[in-house]
Subunit: 369 residues, 4 copies
């Protein structure tokens, strides 16, 4: 079994920053040891035979000329990124950030935040060339797992990098709500190229969807009638700026993630109530649940959740890259279903305990050989 995972990142934003800093941090011996007693948000210090320290970075793509050309370990500090600097020493990944093509346009509200590189401006008739070039970069760097960290609404780019990954023989993890696992064409391409595809829409490590679903299920399991519920999210990173304008896929994914009650017109989800710059990479979610019980008595739950937004993704993706690598090792082709980690898996979302059990069983199966 290969003892190293070569990961490529599409989008060098806060999620990349959290992941690159974390992999660096948890690769040190003392951090490995501390994980035995303290979780720190890492459910599986070892998964499918891999430690977090077995992850390395092989390539990265972005459209911002302030990041392109830099080592990934340096590019993560470039604006508009605002994930906190936890690792103070220099990080060297040896992966150089390369130009990704702009395919979905740049919305007006992002033009001041982002400085588009001229290398990223690709005319329509040159998209095939760009695809060939990116495919070659993924292949030549020995990348085995490509992670799609693009913002919501990047529909064409999500598909572009899925094809590049499949053609280069790399697994692909689609963290965005744009359909990839749910796209029959993309799904078929990964089956044909015999590499694993994982998605769609990363479920945060500990986010508002998980919490909202958990509480609604608790009420249902007790026979309470839900009369009103809303969930509203706020943040100050580029993702929230983007979501405020391009939240359609996101809303659908978040409703799906609530499972059996999603169809109800009594539950309202606002993926982004607004861009609040002062929050930076923090995310604040407010949830209200109102129900009726015995003799029409009222039950009310008010909840506020506060998390570091991008930590939430990184903590999940380090599991997924290890699972994807195991899929590559075993030659799994097409959708590698891991509903524990996604808001919109291909099949219906199971309950959390069962979904977690499936991860443990996959882990055992992978270690068993």
């Amino acid at each position: 079994m290969a003892k190293s995972i070569r990961v490529g990142l599409v989008g060098v934003g806060n999620n990349a920053s959290a992941m690159v800093q974390g992999v660096h941090f948890y690769s040190k011996d003392e951090a490995r040891l501390s994980l035995v007693n303290q979780h720190h948000g890492i459910l599986f210090p070892r998964l499918c035979g891999y430690d977090i320290g077995d992850i390395s970075f092989s390539c990265a793509f972005d459209v911002d000329d302030r990041k392109i050309g830099l080592d990934l370990g340096e590019a993560i500090w470039s604006p508009p990124n605002n994930y906190p600097r936890v690792v103070t020493e220099e990080i060297k990944t040896k992966a150089q950030v390369m130009a990704a093509p702009v395919l979905d346009g740049v919305p007006e509200f992002l033009t001041e935040a982002i400085s588009i590189s001229s290398h990223s401006q690709v005319p329509d008739d040159a998209v095939d060339d760009a695809l060939a070039r990116c495919t070659e970069q993924i292949r030549s760097t020995g990348t085995t797992v490509l992670v799609n960290f693009l913002p919501s609404g990047s529909d064409l780019a999500t598909s572009f990098f899925a094809r590049a990954a499949a053609l280069a023989g790399s697994a692909y993890i689609n963290c965005t709500p744009t359909p990839a696992v749910h796209s029959p064409e993309i799904h078929a391409l990964f089956a044909e190229c015999r590499v694993p595809l994982l998605g769609d829409d990363l479920e945060s490590h500990f986010g508002s969807s998980l919490l909202h679903r958990t509480l609604l299920q608790a009420l249902e399991q007790r026979g309470l009638e839900i009369t009103h519920s809303h969930q509203i999210n706020m943040g100050g990173n580029t993702d929230f700026k983007n979501l405020t304008h391009r939240g359609n896929h996101k809303k659908r994914s978040k409703m799906a993630a609530l499972g059996f009650v999603a169809q109800s017109d009594r539950v309202n989800i606002l993926p982004s109530g607004g861009f609040v710059p002062g929050l930076e990479d923090r995310k604040v979610a407010y949830i209200l649940i109102e129900g009726l019980g015995w003799l029409g008595s009222h039950v009310t739950i008010d909840l506020k959740l506060q998390v570091q937004d991008s930590s939430n993704a990184a903590g999940v993706v380090v599991d997924l890259v290890r699972i994807a690598q195991a899929g590559v090792d075993r030659g799994i082709a097409g959708n590698l279903a891991m509903p524990y980690y996604f808001k919109r898996p291909l099949s219906a979302k199971p309950n959390t305990a069962d979904a977690l059990q499936a991860v443990r069983e996959f882990d055992q199966a992978m270690r068993g050989q």
Copy 2:
């Protein structure tokens, strides 16, 4: 199979009020029908072959002379009860409230709230006579299920009525945190008398223990490290006045209800932060959970729960009396384990999904015959 359940109540407080009003309300045809589409806190409109309308009241015990001698349907409006009047018409149960002996003393803080009947003042050497009398009342009224609604700290009285029930051939449901199922003597007596015993400490229909445990488990399942958590409860009924002074068994039960994390010194539970008369029978709980995730990032959950306190008990007890009756019908002797409904069942508390599944299986088994 008998088509009626004859229920006796020990303690005619707010829980009794919620239960008597609710059984009256849900026995009407239109209410039965509405339950098909609307839950109203009733998980099982039909359970073990019984509707809520199959429940009737056969006897009741209390120490307050303003309640003794009245029909149970009238006694529930007597002070200090402050559960809202939902059923405005007159309720006739035909069960007359009888004098219960004062065995645990009356704490000073309750002396103004309660008006102890002279019939309840039983000297030590007359306790055996009182036991014989109460046993006879349970038996002669045809009571098949006796529900212990006494306040926390009524240790001797809980045991007294357990013995009366067993000797009278009635099932006994211990809603208090005082050990009954956990008392080897009481447990053995029910086995010997061949009647079912259920307990200890009713888990609220939808209360702070359930919610707190659900959230702590959600964090654990994601690998987050819990650094601090507290839960504080407030209410304005006699139970809260009592709990503020006699909360020991309660605290132990509530910690046990949190399951696998209960041993942690990072989790603090305050069963009663105080008696707040203005809340009347409402209960307000505040929960704070703080954890650490990826790279030491902070996760914070703030939650406020508001419920009608006594509705929470009634919604659970209507299930339990039907289960207990099925146990009587089938001759089940000793502990009838139903961990879904209790904070401190005899064996370890399973997860909610499994505990609920056990109820469904028992229901099927009972209907199968």
Copy 3:
């Protein structure tokens, strides 16, 4: 002194419903009496010599053909209004709802909610005729105070009805954030026509702006440094649907209402985080304030406010119509400054105690004659 106030309403939505129901309710003898001991949101049972029962309705304008032609007391029940029905008996005001011209267009998101009357579709070259017609209706019905309840963004219509009021010799209360008092032309017109003008942007009886400002001032007065604060509002009435799309004036008004700290880039206000239909006319606001104190220690305030949105306007407007009538009685011309009641008065917003004192002094002066 005239003993009746003849009020005209522009916009027959939830605010009109709350006001018409309330005036009906508080005009009854028993309600008048109860106000002596219970406030019920009415700060001045008697103000400038007028009781709430002295208010009557003389005319009303709307664009929705389901309301036009009805008595105002009937039109308030028409969809999309969703203020609760508190007064169950029939209300007869004798004011018939008349067609208002559509001047600002109807945004796409409102086309399903509103059914525009053909009488309201006025071509550009017929606006002067419409103005003459509306002015005549205000005058002929004896209206002395016209209240502008139009939604945010109705800039042309706000100005149109201001002119109609001034020309008809009626006072005008501008409840919207659109500039009227702040418009030099409108201001001059009221001075010239010798009638009082009040505005701009009604401060809710008890709303998120008031509360947020109160808390920020409390921190400032203690020398704490505010590091981050946000306020987010949600509702389910048409106003919120509208605000989500046309919130510019509103945001400016709300920032101004926060007074001395409004310029800070540390305070973020989201007038509408989203339209949540399930809330109907309820409004939910979440406020977070984070500050630093002694030795850099943290101070955090989390607040949730829940109100009946349209009650908030009605409770304020019943004061303003009495003040405006007193202004009419005394021949006050142009801006009648009442900063206690507006988010954006003409001069700087004073502190609440001083602003309230100014109301009391005006009241005394008016009663003094």
Copy 4:
């Protein structure tokens, strides 16, 4: 005018720690400068002609043998103190902690937390000797202002040190709810000894009383009817452990601090809902306010406040010691009324704006000479 303030502390707990660390920190040049732009909880960088850097420590008293004999700058790190260590370098105050007599007994619940020195066990007939000794220590160290930081319930000790201060010619600031300013005997003694006395019960810099009062007043000023309100506080320092058992004076003081609505039976205050060790020196307060407005519509405010408990005292006491010193400089005798800083000043609590204005005027008067 003397340019140095010699402060003595009674009780070397968390409040002392916050104050000693803060005075050290804010005495540095760079910290002084930073205060020009950033408040950090310091309302008056300069007050009555004194900077924070003009404060020095001259003596200190405690009963714990782990603190007695140490320099005050070292004793503040001793358990059970758990205020965070913000100043990492060594602090030398030259004030040595001396033995205070145990006069009010040591409650059972504190016996494990505190290690009583044998020097503190003073028999009844030796109290006069102890008083003479403490008076001499205050006098001989040149102490001009003595601050009483003892826990709630230390009634005899509060009075003991008041007498020692008066006899030694030192001003006395009573931070506890025990009556000192409200005690006619103590009051008279300070008048006679011609030194200033300040109290009773420190109002936190930014605490739950201030916030609760501010919100209740905001509702009153709008004419809303308050139907229910509660406030519950939790913490993990010794003060909270103590309050849970000896909260009587505290509750009375907190009710008084709420001013004009304190008499209402609709407002409930729980000074300590419980001792939650995991919070350490953090304090969490939950406040609920429910009211009725226009047409009986509901208004609900839910608030959570989180502060560093002992920072709250230190930020206020640094103002008071400067005010007290100015009183000493000018020979003010008896009660020096500063209602801005106390929950229970001698006369009725004015509104915050007026109380703050009085501080500014005193400041000007003191600087005017």
